[in-house]
Protein backbone atom coordinates (compact mmCIF):
# COMPACT_ATOMS: atom_id res chain seq x y z
CA UNK A 1 0.00 0.00 0.00
CA UNK A 2 1.40 3.35 -0.94
CA UNK A 3 1.71 5.72 1.97
CA UNK A 4 0.85 9.36 1.71
CA UNK A 5 3.97 11.54 1.66
CA UNK A 6 2.34 14.95 1.69
CA UNK A 7 -1.21 15.88 2.52
CA UNK A 8 -2.50 19.45 2.53
CA UNK A 9 -6.06 20.28 3.53
CA UNK A 10 -7.74 23.66 3.07
CA UNK A 11 -4.34 25.29 3.00
CA UNK A 12 -4.40 29.06 2.93
CA UNK A 13 -1.45 31.42 3.09
CA UNK A 14 -1.35 35.17 3.63
CA UNK A 15 1.63 37.50 3.44
CA UNK A 16 1.37 40.34 5.95
CA UNK A 17 2.05 42.99 3.28
CA UNK A 18 -0.31 41.53 0.66
CA UNK A 19 -2.15 44.10 -1.40
CA UNK A 20 -5.93 44.09 -0.92
CA UNK A 21 -5.50 41.27 1.58
CA UNK A 22 -5.63 38.71 -1.23
CA UNK A 23 -4.24 35.38 -0.01
CA UNK A 24 -1.21 33.96 -1.83
CA UNK A 25 -2.81 30.52 -1.58
CA UNK A 26 -6.36 29.59 -0.84
CA UNK A 27 -8.21 26.35 -0.34
CA UNK A 28 -5.42 24.03 -1.49
CA UNK A 29 -6.14 20.34 -1.16
CA UNK A 30 -3.33 18.06 -2.10
CA UNK A 31 -2.41 14.44 -1.58
CA UNK A 32 0.95 13.16 -2.79
CA UNK A 33 1.75 9.48 -2.47
CA UNK A 34 5.23 8.27 -1.65
CA UNK A 35 7.10 7.80 -4.90
CA UNK A 36 5.03 10.35 -6.82
CA UNK A 37 6.70 13.00 -8.93
CA UNK A 38 4.45 16.05 -8.78
CA UNK A 39 5.06 19.08 -10.99
CA UNK A 40 3.54 22.37 -9.89
CA UNK A 41 2.83 24.60 -12.90
CA UNK A 42 1.13 27.89 -13.55
CA UNK A 43 2.05 31.48 -14.31
CA UNK A 44 4.35 33.58 -12.14
CA UNK A 45 2.46 34.99 -9.16
CA UNK A 46 0.22 31.92 -9.13
CA UNK A 47 1.54 30.83 -5.73
CA UNK A 48 4.02 28.12 -6.75
CA UNK A 49 6.89 29.42 -4.63
CA UNK A 50 4.54 29.98 -1.69
CA UNK A 51 3.26 26.40 -1.94
CA UNK A 52 6.85 25.09 -2.09
CA UNK A 53 7.65 27.22 0.98
CA UNK A 54 4.67 25.85 2.92
CA UNK A 55 5.28 22.19 2.03
CA UNK A 56 9.00 22.50 2.77
CA UNK A 57 8.41 24.08 6.17
CA UNK A 58 9.98 27.44 5.26
CA UNK A 59 6.62 29.16 5.82
CA UNK A 60 5.81 30.30 8.46
CA UNK A 61 9.07 29.39 10.27
CA UNK A 62 11.55 31.34 8.15
CA UNK A 63 9.32 33.45 5.91
CA UNK A 64 6.83 35.81 7.49
CA UNK A 65 3.35 34.67 6.48
CA UNK A 66 0.35 33.22 8.23
CA UNK A 67 -1.09 29.90 7.20
CA UNK A 68 -4.28 28.07 8.03
CA UNK A 69 -5.46 24.60 7.17
CA UNK A 70 -3.18 21.62 7.67
CA UNK A 71 -0.08 20.05 6.16
CA UNK A 72 1.05 16.55 7.05
CA UNK A 73 4.33 14.98 6.02
CA UNK A 74 4.39 11.17 6.27
CA UNK A 75 1.23 11.31 8.34
CA UNK A 76 2.54 13.81 10.91
CA UNK A 77 1.58 17.49 11.17
CA UNK A 78 4.46 19.57 9.79
CA UNK A 79 4.48 21.83 12.86
CA UNK A 80 5.28 18.84 15.08
CA UNK A 81 8.66 18.34 13.36
CA UNK A 82 11.81 19.67 14.98
CA UNK A 83 14.28 21.39 12.62
CA UNK A 84 16.47 18.27 12.65
CA UNK A 85 13.57 15.92 11.97
CA UNK A 86 12.36 18.13 9.16
CA UNK A 87 15.80 18.19 7.48
CA UNK A 88 15.80 14.38 7.65
CA UNK A 89 12.37 14.24 6.02
CA UNK A 90 12.24 16.94 3.37
CA UNK A 91 14.94 18.74 1.38
CA UNK A 92 14.15 22.07 -0.26
CA UNK A 93 16.10 23.30 -3.29
CA UNK A 94 15.56 26.87 -4.45
CA UNK A 95 15.92 28.39 -7.91
CA UNK A 96 19.23 30.08 -7.27
CA UNK A 97 21.89 27.63 -6.02
CA UNK A 98 24.08 30.56 -4.94
CA UNK A 99 21.52 31.39 -2.27
CA UNK A 100 22.13 27.99 -0.68
CA UNK A 101 25.73 27.22 -1.46
CA UNK A 102 28.58 28.13 0.89
CA UNK A 103 31.79 26.70 2.27
CA UNK A 104 35.21 26.14 0.79
CA UNK A 105 34.96 22.81 -1.01
CA UNK A 106 32.04 20.72 -2.19
CA UNK A 107 33.03 18.05 0.35
CA UNK A 108 32.82 20.56 3.23
CA UNK A 109 29.48 21.86 2.00
CA UNK A 110 28.02 18.35 1.78
CA UNK A 111 29.28 17.56 5.28
CA UNK A 112 27.97 20.76 6.89
CA UNK A 113 24.45 19.63 7.82
CA UNK A 114 25.74 16.36 9.22
CA UNK A 115 28.51 18.07 11.19
CA UNK A 116 25.87 20.26 12.84
CA UNK A 117 24.13 17.15 13.99
CA UNK A 118 27.32 15.61 15.34
CA UNK A 119 27.62 12.69 12.92
CA UNK A 120 30.89 10.77 12.97
CA UNK A 121 33.41 11.19 10.15
CA UNK A 122 32.72 7.64 8.98
CA UNK A 123 28.99 8.25 8.66
CA UNK A 124 29.58 11.53 6.88
CA UNK A 125 32.00 9.93 4.43
CA UNK A 126 29.66 7.01 3.80
CA UNK A 127 26.67 9.24 3.09
CA UNK A 128 28.61 11.57 0.82
CA UNK A 129 29.98 8.60 -1.10
CA UNK A 130 26.45 7.31 -1.48
CA UNK A 131 24.86 10.60 -2.57
CA UNK A 132 27.61 11.99 -4.83
CA UNK A 133 27.35 9.43 -7.67
CA UNK A 134 23.55 9.73 -7.75
CA UNK A 135 23.97 13.39 -8.74
CA UNK A 136 27.19 12.94 -10.71
CA UNK A 137 29.21 15.16 -8.39
CA UNK A 138 31.87 12.64 -7.27
CA UNK A 139 34.54 14.37 -9.36
CA UNK A 140 33.67 17.73 -7.84
CA UNK A 141 34.19 16.88 -4.17
CA UNK A 142 37.60 18.53 -3.88
CA UNK A 143 36.61 21.56 -5.99
CA UNK A 144 35.77 24.98 -4.58
CA UNK A 145 32.03 25.71 -4.60
CA UNK A 146 32.77 29.07 -6.26
CA UNK A 147 34.18 27.65 -9.50
CA UNK A 148 31.32 25.30 -10.33
CA UNK A 149 29.01 25.87 -13.29
CA UNK A 150 25.33 26.60 -12.61
CA UNK A 151 24.32 23.00 -13.31
CA UNK A 152 27.06 21.62 -11.09
CA UNK A 153 26.08 23.97 -8.27
CA UNK A 154 22.45 22.91 -8.47
CA UNK A 155 23.37 19.21 -8.38
CA UNK A 156 25.67 19.82 -5.42
CA UNK A 157 22.81 21.52 -3.56
CA UNK A 158 20.58 18.50 -4.24
CA UNK A 159 23.36 16.19 -3.00
CA UNK A 160 23.57 18.24 0.21
CA UNK A 161 19.89 17.46 0.80
CA UNK A 162 20.34 13.78 -0.01
CA UNK A 163 22.99 13.19 2.65
CA UNK A 164 20.31 13.98 5.22
CA UNK A 165 18.37 11.05 3.73
CA UNK A 166 15.02 12.78 3.27
CA UNK A 167 12.15 10.89 1.71
CA UNK A 168 10.78 14.02 0.04
CA UNK A 169 12.59 16.53 -2.16
CA UNK A 170 10.95 19.85 -3.02
CA UNK A 171 12.22 22.18 -5.75
CA UNK A 172 11.42 25.73 -6.78
CA UNK A 173 12.30 26.13 -10.47
CA UNK A 174 15.66 24.42 -10.11
CA UNK A 175 16.50 24.77 -13.81
CA UNK A 176 16.01 28.52 -14.12
CA UNK A 177 19.77 29.20 -14.12
CA UNK A 178 20.76 26.15 -16.16
CA UNK A 179 21.64 25.63 -19.81
CA UNK A 180 19.65 23.00 -21.76
CA UNK A 181 22.10 20.16 -21.12
CA UNK A 182 22.43 21.15 -17.43
CA UNK A 183 18.63 21.06 -17.18
CA UNK A 184 18.47 17.66 -18.84
CA UNK A 185 21.16 16.29 -16.51
CA UNK A 186 19.43 17.62 -13.41
CA UNK A 187 16.05 16.20 -14.44
CA UNK A 188 17.67 12.87 -15.35
CA UNK A 189 19.20 12.77 -11.85
CA UNK A 190 15.80 13.54 -10.30
CA UNK A 191 14.13 10.85 -12.39
CA UNK A 192 16.72 8.40 -11.12
CA UNK A 193 16.19 9.44 -7.48
CA UNK A 194 12.44 9.12 -7.95
CA UNK A 195 12.31 5.83 -9.83
CA UNK A 196 15.32 4.00 -8.39
CA UNK A 197 15.54 5.38 -4.86
CA UNK A 198 11.78 5.93 -4.46
CA UNK A 199 12.02 9.53 -3.33
CA UNK A 200 8.90 11.64 -3.53
CA UNK A 201 9.51 14.75 -5.62
CA UNK A 202 7.55 17.99 -5.81
CA UNK A 203 8.86 20.48 -8.33
CA UNK A 204 7.64 23.91 -9.42
CA UNK A 205 8.68 24.44 -13.02
CA UNK A 206 7.79 26.17 -16.30
CA UNK A 207 9.57 23.68 -18.53
CA UNK A 208 7.00 20.94 -18.87
CA UNK A 209 8.47 19.34 -21.99
CA UNK A 210 11.67 18.35 -20.24
CA UNK A 211 9.66 16.79 -17.40
CA UNK A 212 7.27 14.67 -19.40
CA UNK A 213 9.47 11.60 -19.02
CA UNK A 214 9.70 11.81 -15.24
CA UNK A 215 6.57 13.49 -13.90
CA UNK A 216 3.62 11.46 -12.65
CA UNK A 217 1.26 14.26 -11.60
CA UNK A 218 0.62 17.90 -12.41
CA UNK A 219 -0.92 20.57 -10.24
CA UNK A 220 -1.79 23.83 -11.96
CA UNK A 221 -2.10 26.93 -9.82
CA UNK A 222 -3.61 30.21 -10.88
CA UNK A 223 -3.90 33.22 -8.57
CA UNK A 224 -3.39 31.09 -5.50
CA UNK A 225 -5.99 28.48 -6.36
CA UNK A 226 -5.88 25.01 -7.88
CA UNK A 227 -7.01 25.15 -11.50
CA UNK A 228 -6.26 21.52 -12.35
CA UNK A 229 -4.75 18.53 -10.58
CA UNK A 230 -4.29 14.94 -11.69
CA UNK A 231 -2.06 12.65 -13.69
CA UNK A 232 0.47 14.64 -15.71
CA UNK A 233 -0.79 13.66 -19.16
CA UNK A 234 -4.46 13.91 -18.26
CA UNK A 235 -4.07 17.44 -16.98
CA UNK A 236 -2.28 18.57 -20.15
CA UNK A 237 -5.30 17.40 -22.13
CA UNK A 238 -7.32 20.13 -20.45
CA UNK A 239 -7.44 23.59 -22.04
CA UNK A 240 -4.80 25.30 -19.92
CA UNK A 241 -2.99 27.08 -22.69
CA UNK A 242 -3.18 30.44 -21.02
CA UNK A 243 -1.46 29.13 -17.91
CA UNK A 244 1.21 26.70 -19.06
CA UNK A 245 4.13 26.55 -21.44
CA UNK A 246 3.33 23.33 -23.31
CA UNK A 247 6.03 21.10 -24.77
CA UNK A 248 6.49 21.86 -28.47
CA UNK A 249 5.30 18.36 -29.42
CA UNK A 250 1.99 19.12 -27.71
CA UNK A 251 1.81 22.60 -29.24
CA UNK A 252 2.24 21.03 -32.65
CA UNK A 253 -0.58 18.56 -32.04
CA UNK A 254 -2.86 21.37 -30.86
CA UNK A 255 -1.90 23.60 -33.82
CA UNK A 256 -2.76 20.76 -36.21
CA UNK A 257 -6.07 20.24 -34.48
CA UNK A 258 -6.83 23.95 -34.82
CA UNK A 259 -6.23 23.66 -38.56
CA UNK A 260 -8.74 20.83 -38.72
CA UNK A 261 -6.16 18.09 -39.24
CA UNK A 262 -6.73 14.67 -37.64
CA UNK A 263 -6.31 14.63 -33.88
CA UNK A 264 -4.19 12.14 -31.99
CA UNK A 265 -5.52 9.96 -29.15
CA UNK A 266 -2.32 10.53 -27.19
CA UNK A 267 -1.17 14.11 -26.69
CA UNK A 268 2.51 13.91 -27.71
CA UNK A 269 4.86 15.42 -25.15
CA UNK A 270 8.35 14.11 -25.85
CA UNK A 271 10.45 14.43 -29.00
CA UNK A 272 9.90 10.76 -29.88
CA UNK A 273 6.16 11.11 -29.42
CA UNK A 274 6.16 14.24 -31.56
CA UNK A 275 7.99 12.42 -34.36
CA UNK A 276 5.57 9.47 -34.10
CA UNK A 277 2.65 11.90 -34.27
CA UNK A 278 4.00 13.36 -37.52
CA UNK A 279 4.56 9.95 -39.11
CA UNK A 280 1.03 8.93 -38.18
CA UNK A 281 -0.41 12.17 -39.52
CA UNK A 282 1.37 11.83 -42.84
CA UNK A 283 -0.29 8.44 -43.36
CA UNK A 284 -3.58 10.32 -43.67
CA UNK A 285 -2.49 11.96 -46.92
CA UNK A 286 -5.44 12.67 -49.10
CA UNK A 287 -7.29 14.06 -46.11
CA UNK A 288 -10.08 16.28 -47.51
CA UNK A 289 -9.03 19.88 -48.05
Amino acid sequence: MSQIAIEARALQCHYPDARDGVPALSNIHLSVNQGDFLVVGGPNDAGKTTLIGCLGGLIPKHIDASISGSIELLGRPIESYSATDLAGTVGVVLDDPDSQLFGSTVMHYLAFGMELRGYTREVMRERIEEAAPLLGVTDLLERSCQVLSGGEKQRVVVASMLVMRPSILIFDEPSSQLDPIGTRELFAALKHLNQKAGLTIVLAEHKLGELSECASHLLVLDRGEVRAYGRFRDVLREPLHELLRYPQAAELCLACKERGLPDSALLPLTIDEGAAFIRELLKTRGFPA
Binding site: G42, P43, N44, D45, A46, D95, S149, G150, G151, E173, S176, Q177, L178, D179, P180, I181, G182, R184, H206, G209, E242, L243, L244, R245, P247, Q248, A249, E251, L252, A255, C256, R259, L261, I271, D272, G274, A275, A276, I278, R279, L281, L282, T284, R285, G286, F287, P288, A289
Partner: protein, 277 residues
Protein backbone atom coordinates in the same frame (compact mmCIF):
# COMPACT_ATOMS: atom_id res chain seq x y z
CA UNK B 1 17.43 42.41 -44.85
CA UNK B 2 20.55 41.07 -46.58
CA UNK B 3 21.59 44.51 -47.85
CA UNK B 4 21.02 46.03 -44.42
CA UNK B 5 23.12 43.68 -42.36
CA UNK B 6 26.34 44.59 -44.11
CA UNK B 7 27.05 47.68 -42.00
CA UNK B 8 29.06 46.80 -38.89
CA UNK B 9 27.88 48.57 -35.73
CA UNK B 10 30.20 46.75 -33.39
CA UNK B 11 33.47 45.07 -34.25
CA UNK B 12 35.26 42.83 -31.76
CA UNK B 13 38.85 41.86 -32.65
CA UNK B 14 40.86 39.14 -30.93
CA UNK B 15 39.32 39.98 -27.56
CA UNK B 16 40.90 38.48 -24.47
CA UNK B 17 39.61 39.08 -20.98
CA UNK B 18 41.39 37.95 -17.86
CA UNK B 19 39.61 38.34 -14.52
CA UNK B 20 41.58 38.91 -11.30
CA UNK B 21 43.04 35.61 -10.14
CA UNK B 22 44.22 34.93 -13.70
CA UNK B 23 40.93 33.43 -14.89
CA UNK B 24 40.89 33.79 -18.66
CA UNK B 25 37.20 34.17 -19.53
CA UNK B 26 37.68 35.16 -23.18
CA UNK B 27 40.43 33.68 -25.31
CA UNK B 28 40.55 35.58 -28.57
CA UNK B 29 37.00 36.35 -29.66
CA UNK B 30 36.38 38.13 -32.96
CA UNK B 31 32.95 39.02 -34.26
CA UNK B 32 30.92 41.70 -35.94
CA UNK B 33 27.46 42.94 -35.03
CA UNK B 34 25.72 44.26 -38.13
CA UNK B 35 23.13 47.00 -38.32
CA UNK B 36 19.57 45.78 -37.70
CA UNK B 37 20.38 42.16 -37.15
CA UNK B 38 19.15 40.01 -34.29
CA UNK B 39 22.20 38.14 -33.11
CA UNK B 40 21.88 35.25 -30.67
CA UNK B 41 24.79 34.30 -28.43
CA UNK B 42 24.49 30.82 -26.97
CA UNK B 43 26.72 28.49 -24.98
CA UNK B 44 26.78 26.69 -21.67
CA UNK B 45 27.07 28.35 -18.27
CA UNK B 46 30.58 29.69 -17.90
CA UNK B 47 31.36 29.85 -21.63
CA UNK B 48 32.02 33.60 -21.56
CA UNK B 49 28.77 34.95 -23.03
CA UNK B 50 28.11 37.55 -20.35
CA UNK B 51 31.79 38.57 -20.19
CA UNK B 52 31.69 39.10 -23.94
CA UNK B 53 28.59 41.30 -24.04
CA UNK B 54 29.73 43.39 -21.07
CA UNK B 55 32.48 44.59 -23.43
CA UNK B 56 29.92 45.90 -25.90
CA UNK B 57 28.83 48.77 -23.64
CA UNK B 58 32.11 49.27 -21.85
CA UNK B 59 31.16 47.63 -18.54
CA UNK B 60 34.32 45.61 -19.08
CA UNK B 61 37.41 46.68 -20.99
CA UNK B 62 39.55 44.28 -23.05
CA UNK B 63 42.65 42.81 -21.41
CA UNK B 64 43.99 42.63 -24.96
CA UNK B 65 42.33 43.03 -28.34
CA UNK B 66 39.77 45.71 -29.12
CA UNK B 67 36.07 46.51 -29.27
CA UNK B 68 34.82 49.20 -31.65
CA UNK B 69 31.32 50.63 -31.20
CA UNK B 70 30.24 52.75 -34.19
CA UNK B 71 33.86 52.82 -35.27
CA UNK B 72 35.32 54.00 -31.96
CA UNK B 73 37.28 51.99 -29.44
CA UNK B 74 35.54 51.45 -26.07
CA UNK B 75 38.89 51.57 -24.26
CA UNK B 76 38.68 55.29 -23.43
CA UNK B 77 34.88 55.62 -23.37
CA UNK B 78 32.77 55.90 -20.27
CA UNK B 79 29.82 53.53 -19.81
CA UNK B 80 27.46 56.54 -19.76
CA UNK B 81 28.64 57.61 -23.23
CA UNK B 82 28.23 54.12 -24.62
CA UNK B 83 24.81 53.65 -22.97
CA UNK B 84 23.28 55.96 -25.60
CA UNK B 85 24.30 53.50 -28.28
CA UNK B 86 24.27 50.17 -26.50
CA UNK B 87 21.62 49.40 -23.87
CA UNK B 88 22.09 46.44 -21.57
CA UNK B 89 19.22 44.47 -20.06
CA UNK B 90 20.73 42.60 -17.13
CA UNK B 91 20.00 38.97 -16.38
CA UNK B 92 19.32 39.92 -12.78
CA UNK B 93 17.22 43.10 -12.86
CA UNK B 94 17.87 43.79 -9.16
CA UNK B 95 21.38 44.90 -10.08
CA UNK B 96 20.07 48.10 -11.63
CA UNK B 97 17.14 49.51 -9.62
CA UNK B 98 17.56 52.24 -7.04
CA UNK B 99 14.55 54.58 -7.25
CA UNK B 100 11.22 54.62 -5.45
CA UNK B 101 8.79 53.83 -8.25
CA UNK B 102 8.56 52.05 -11.58
CA UNK B 103 7.90 55.35 -13.34
CA UNK B 104 10.88 57.13 -11.76
CA UNK B 105 13.11 54.24 -12.66
CA UNK B 106 12.13 54.42 -16.36
CA UNK B 107 12.39 58.22 -16.30
CA UNK B 108 15.88 58.26 -14.87
CA UNK B 109 17.94 57.35 -17.94
CA UNK B 110 16.30 59.90 -20.27
CA UNK B 111 16.54 62.62 -17.57
CA UNK B 112 20.21 61.79 -17.18
CA UNK B 113 20.91 62.52 -20.84
CA UNK B 114 18.91 65.76 -20.70
CA UNK B 115 15.74 64.76 -22.53
CA UNK B 116 13.08 67.53 -22.12
CA UNK B 117 10.42 66.74 -19.51
CA UNK B 118 7.49 66.59 -21.91
CA UNK B 119 9.24 64.11 -24.15
CA UNK B 120 10.39 62.08 -21.15
CA UNK B 121 6.84 61.78 -19.86
CA UNK B 122 5.64 60.64 -23.27
CA UNK B 123 8.49 58.14 -23.71
CA UNK B 124 8.01 56.75 -20.21
CA UNK B 125 4.31 56.21 -20.62
CA UNK B 126 4.81 54.68 -24.11
CA UNK B 127 7.44 52.26 -22.88
CA UNK B 128 5.43 51.25 -19.79
CA UNK B 129 2.43 50.62 -21.98
CA UNK B 130 4.41 48.55 -24.46
CA UNK B 131 5.62 46.22 -21.71
CA UNK B 132 2.32 45.92 -19.86
CA UNK B 133 3.58 47.90 -16.86
CA UNK B 134 1.22 50.88 -16.91
CA UNK B 135 -0.86 49.62 -13.98
CA UNK B 136 2.31 49.27 -11.90
CA UNK B 137 3.79 52.71 -12.59
CA UNK B 138 3.58 53.90 -8.99
CA UNK B 139 4.81 50.72 -7.33
CA UNK B 140 8.22 50.31 -5.77
CA UNK B 141 10.46 48.23 -8.07
CA UNK B 142 11.32 45.79 -5.29
CA UNK B 143 7.65 45.18 -4.56
CA UNK B 144 7.23 43.78 -8.04
CA UNK B 145 7.52 40.07 -8.72
CA UNK B 146 10.61 38.87 -10.53
CA UNK B 147 9.02 38.79 -13.97
CA UNK B 148 7.74 42.34 -13.68
CA UNK B 149 11.16 43.47 -12.48
CA UNK B 150 12.55 41.91 -15.63
CA UNK B 151 10.08 43.80 -17.78
CA UNK B 152 10.96 46.99 -15.92
CA UNK B 153 14.65 46.49 -16.67
CA UNK B 154 13.76 46.22 -20.36
CA UNK B 155 11.60 49.35 -20.09
CA UNK B 156 14.51 51.34 -18.60
CA UNK B 157 16.72 50.45 -21.54
CA UNK B 158 14.06 51.11 -24.18
CA UNK B 159 13.44 54.58 -22.76
CA UNK B 160 16.99 55.48 -23.83
CA UNK B 161 16.24 54.37 -27.39
CA UNK B 162 19.73 52.92 -27.97
CA UNK B 163 20.71 51.60 -31.39
CA UNK B 164 21.85 48.26 -30.00
CA UNK B 165 20.04 46.48 -27.19
CA UNK B 166 21.80 43.62 -25.43
CA UNK B 167 19.57 41.14 -23.62
CA UNK B 168 21.13 38.81 -21.08
CA UNK B 169 18.84 35.77 -20.69
CA UNK B 170 15.55 37.63 -21.33
CA UNK B 171 13.21 34.67 -20.94
CA UNK B 172 14.82 32.90 -17.98
CA UNK B 173 12.34 32.12 -15.20
CA UNK B 174 9.44 33.77 -17.04
CA UNK B 175 6.03 32.20 -17.45
CA UNK B 176 4.35 31.75 -20.79
CA UNK B 177 2.58 35.10 -20.91
CA UNK B 178 5.72 36.96 -19.92
CA UNK B 179 7.75 35.07 -22.51
CA UNK B 180 5.21 36.12 -25.12
CA UNK B 181 5.37 39.71 -23.93
CA UNK B 182 9.17 39.71 -24.06
CA UNK B 183 9.22 37.97 -27.44
CA UNK B 184 6.79 40.61 -28.74
CA UNK B 185 8.98 43.38 -27.36
CA UNK B 186 11.98 41.78 -29.08
CA UNK B 187 10.05 41.47 -32.31
CA UNK B 188 8.86 45.11 -32.10
CA UNK B 189 12.37 46.34 -31.47
CA UNK B 190 13.84 44.45 -34.37
CA UNK B 191 11.13 45.57 -36.79
CA UNK B 192 11.50 49.17 -35.62
CA UNK B 193 15.13 49.17 -36.69
CA UNK B 194 17.02 48.27 -33.51
CA UNK B 195 19.95 45.93 -33.52
CA UNK B 196 19.64 43.21 -30.91
CA UNK B 197 22.18 40.97 -29.27
CA UNK B 198 20.54 38.25 -27.19
CA UNK B 199 22.32 35.91 -24.81
CA UNK B 200 20.07 32.97 -24.17
CA UNK B 201 19.62 29.32 -23.32
CA UNK B 202 16.19 29.43 -24.92
CA UNK B 203 16.65 27.76 -28.29
CA UNK B 204 13.05 28.50 -29.24
CA UNK B 205 13.82 32.19 -28.95
CA UNK B 206 16.90 31.74 -31.15
CA UNK B 207 14.96 29.71 -33.70
CA UNK B 208 12.09 32.14 -33.96
CA UNK B 209 13.78 35.52 -33.59
CA UNK B 210 17.48 35.48 -34.44
CA UNK B 211 18.93 36.00 -37.94
CA UNK B 212 22.32 34.78 -36.86
CA UNK B 213 23.72 32.88 -33.91
CA UNK B 214 27.16 32.56 -32.34
CA UNK B 215 28.02 29.52 -30.23
CA UNK B 216 30.50 30.17 -27.42
CA UNK B 217 32.52 27.49 -25.71
CA UNK B 218 35.25 27.98 -23.09
CA UNK B 219 35.87 31.59 -24.00
CA UNK B 220 35.97 31.10 -27.76
CA UNK B 221 33.58 31.25 -30.69
CA UNK B 222 32.90 27.68 -31.63
CA UNK B 223 30.43 28.16 -34.49
CA UNK B 224 28.52 30.90 -36.25
CA UNK B 225 25.70 30.95 -38.77
CA UNK B 226 21.95 31.02 -39.26
CA UNK B 227 19.87 29.20 -36.61
CA UNK B 228 19.07 26.47 -39.16
CA UNK B 229 22.73 25.86 -39.96
CA UNK B 230 23.79 25.84 -36.30
CA UNK B 231 20.94 23.56 -35.23
CA UNK B 232 21.94 21.09 -37.91
CA UNK B 233 25.17 20.41 -35.97
CA UNK B 234 23.89 18.53 -32.92
CA UNK B 235 27.28 17.11 -31.89
CA UNK B 236 28.94 20.53 -31.81
CA UNK B 237 25.91 21.90 -29.91
CA UNK B 238 26.04 19.07 -27.38
CA UNK B 239 29.68 19.84 -26.64
CA UNK B 240 28.55 23.39 -25.85
CA UNK B 241 25.79 22.31 -23.46
CA UNK B 242 23.06 23.00 -26.01
CA UNK B 243 20.55 21.21 -28.12
CA UNK B 244 18.23 22.31 -30.93
CA UNK B 245 14.66 23.27 -29.94
CA UNK B 246 12.30 20.30 -29.55
CA UNK B 247 10.52 21.04 -32.80
CA UNK B 248 13.78 20.89 -34.81
CA UNK B 249 14.63 17.58 -33.14
CA UNK B 250 11.12 16.29 -33.83
CA UNK B 251 11.50 17.28 -37.49
CA UNK B 252 14.85 15.52 -37.74
CA UNK B 253 13.56 12.37 -36.06
CA UNK B 254 10.34 12.15 -38.05
CA UNK B 255 12.38 11.88 -41.25
CA UNK B 256 10.56 14.60 -43.18
CA UNK B 257 13.90 15.80 -44.56
CA UNK B 258 13.29 19.50 -43.98
CA UNK B 259 14.76 22.05 -41.57
CA UNK B 260 11.98 23.28 -39.30
CA UNK B 261 12.50 25.93 -36.64
CA UNK B 262 9.06 26.66 -35.23
CA UNK B 263 5.81 24.90 -34.40
CA UNK B 264 3.96 27.14 -36.83
CA UNK B 265 6.35 26.25 -39.65
CA UNK B 266 5.83 22.55 -38.93
CA UNK B 267 2.04 22.84 -38.74
CA UNK B 268 2.00 24.80 -42.02
CA UNK B 269 4.17 22.17 -43.65
CA UNK B 270 2.00 19.27 -42.44
CA UNK B 271 -1.15 21.08 -43.48
CA UNK B 272 0.30 21.53 -46.98
CA UNK B 273 1.56 17.94 -47.24
CA UNK B 274 -1.72 16.42 -46.12
CA UNK B 275 -4.10 18.54 -48.09
CA UNK B 276 -2.22 19.14 -51.32
CA UNK B 277 -0.51 15.90 -52.12
Amino acid sequence: MSDLIETPLIVVRDLHHVYPGNVEALKGVSLTVHDREVLGIVGQNGSGKTTLVKHLNGLLKPSTGEVLVLGESTQKKRVSELARHVGYVFQNPDQQFFLGSVEKEVNYGPANIGMPEEERTRVTSEVLDRLGLSAKRLEHPFRLTRNYRKLLSIACVLAMNPRVVVFDEPTTGQDMNQVRLIMNAIHDLSTSGHTLVIITHDMTLVAEHCNRVIVMNEGQVMAEGTPASVFSQPIMLGRSGLEPPDIAQIAARSGIGKDILSVKEMADYLDWRIRDL
